[in-house]
């Protein structure tokens, strides 16, 4: 008989015992459980990527009695496109008659990080590890725009191939967060690809591609070999319903 003993580190034990909230039914595009998954959001400018992320954040931080998920979110903003006023608008849409106290309660679950260069970003990933150890109610990590510092990095001797650059950055984030089962969502611009391919990157489990044709918006969710296309509209209040296109 062979016995296999598996040792786990203190961090893994803590993670196993602590009840970290699980993200489920975040949006009609991602209806199932998202534990430890990496989701890539890719699209051109003005196709609704940051708005989609804002809607996800709003859904996470609203309390459960308003059909929210009541989890903390860490939003790493490298692009400067995140608009807190828009987030508050969406929260007020999700919770009828939200007063200031309730908005404050929701916003306290969001942590924002603004980074302006890559070395600081890598140190911030390390700090994120410490942060998630302390804060067990954080359930989602969002990185807006992997391509923000690419030109500076490649000119100072970094990675030149765009796909490899993305893989490196996401892998280092995943390594920092590997003991936690937190899903990661990140955005990428459409032009930021070494080769135009339909397949997913190695580090990515799912890909959502946003496109816009005049005033119609489309989101295509790709998972392994399965592709689903949804149509939606953007108005003053945010994103309207997603309609599955067959």
């Amino acid at each position: 008989m062979e016995f296999k003993s598996q040792a786990e580190s203190g961090l893994q034990l803590l993670e196993r015992l602590v009840a970290r909230p699980i993200i489920k039914n975040l949006t009609p595009l991602l209806p199932d459980e998202l534990t430890s998954e990496t989701i890539e959001i890719i699209g051109d400018a003005s196709t609704g990527k940051t708005l989609f992320l804002t809607e996800c954040v709003a859904k996470c931080i609203t309390p459960q009695n308003s059909y929210g998920l009541d989890t903390g979110v860490v939003y790493i903003d490298l692009d400067g496109q995140f608009n807190i006023t828009k987030l508050v608008k969406i929260i007020k849409r999700l919770i009828k008659n939200a007063d200031d106290k309730l908005v404050k309660f929701c916003l306290n679950k969001l942590t924002l990080i603004n980074c302006f260069d890559s070395p600081t970003l890598y140190v911030t990933f390390q700090r994120l590890k410490l942060f998630l150890t302390e804060q067990s109610q954080v359930g989602l990590v969002i990185l807006d725009s992997v391509s923000a510092n690419y030109w500076q990095d490649s000119a100072s001797g970094g990675e030149k191939y765009m796909d490899t650059y993305v893989e490196k950055m996401i892998s280092s984030l995943k390594i920092c967060l590997e003991d936690f089962k937190v899903p990661i969502m990140f955005t990428r611009q459409s032009y930021f690809q070494s080769k135009q391919s339909e397949s997913l990157l190695d580090c990515v489990n799912r890909k959502i591609e946003f496109q816009r044709l005049d005033s119609d918006y489309y989101a295509t969710v790709t998972r392994k070999n399965l592709k689903l296309c949804y149509k939606f509209n953007i108005n003053e209040q945010g994103i309207s319903d997603f309609n599955l296109q067959l």
Binding site: A45, I84, L107, N108, T111, I113, V123, L130, A155, Q189
Partner: protein, 300 residues
Amino acid sequence: MIRLNVPLVPDENILNNLFERNIYTVNDFLQKKTSNLQSVCNLQCKEVTKLKDCMTVKCSSPFVNGYQFYLKRPVSIFIQTGIIKLDNILGGGLFAGNIYELCGPSACGKTQLCYSILLNLIITTKKDIVYIDTKNKFSVNRIKQMLKNKCKTNNEINAILSKIHVYSILDIYKLITCLHGLKEKLEPIIFIDSLPALYLSFIGFDKNDGLCYINHICSVLKYLCNKNATIMVTNLAVKTSDSTNYFKPAIGKYWFHIPNTRLMITTIINQQQMCINITKSAYAPLNEKCILNIDNFGVS
């Protein structure tokens, strides 16, 4: 790259030992294994871990709570440009903390629009404005003409002119220095006229270093926006490679995604008018148009 120095590292000896092993920056230190660092630093494992944690917290970006971030947004939500039709399509005016881009073909009136907005901002908010002029084209005479037509006295004109800080910048390196210098100002309003003038000298070569500098400039601009600056950048619009009359912004795909709001300007031929169209925005509805007139009084 944060270089290791004495406040981060407990004492000089440890610092010298680290330098001898080619560990110069915080990133290098954090990537080495704790067990290897024990012998280098002459410290216990627990102390090395504590040192690493301390460095991580000190050198990372600040983690801001959502509610604190919401409270820090500027009290006056938007600044009116003074041009009523433009304010209407922008949802009230210019929002602080955003980068606006005015994009249009040559000689369509971008600089005139900048002057008009500039003067209206000074007259209504009495704030100082930073105007970065990259083509040495800033015309005090035109500003004086516009102010005289608004019936301002000489004293008033002088007071208004003293609030415009013009930086004449002719290469991209000076722009980077200038923007870093603006970091100390409190909520500045910055006009950059025009950005492609500095970048065009880089294109056409195999090794395009220009994008690296544009990336750096955008990082500083985003930093300034985080501190609630309002930035307006002028850009050229160039014809796309097919023969249609469709214009796209210059500087390239990287810059295309940077501004929060893009206003495309087209001239209406034979009339001194310009048509402004919102083609990218986080909050204003897209494809809203308005038509403005250019005359001696400025743009209205």
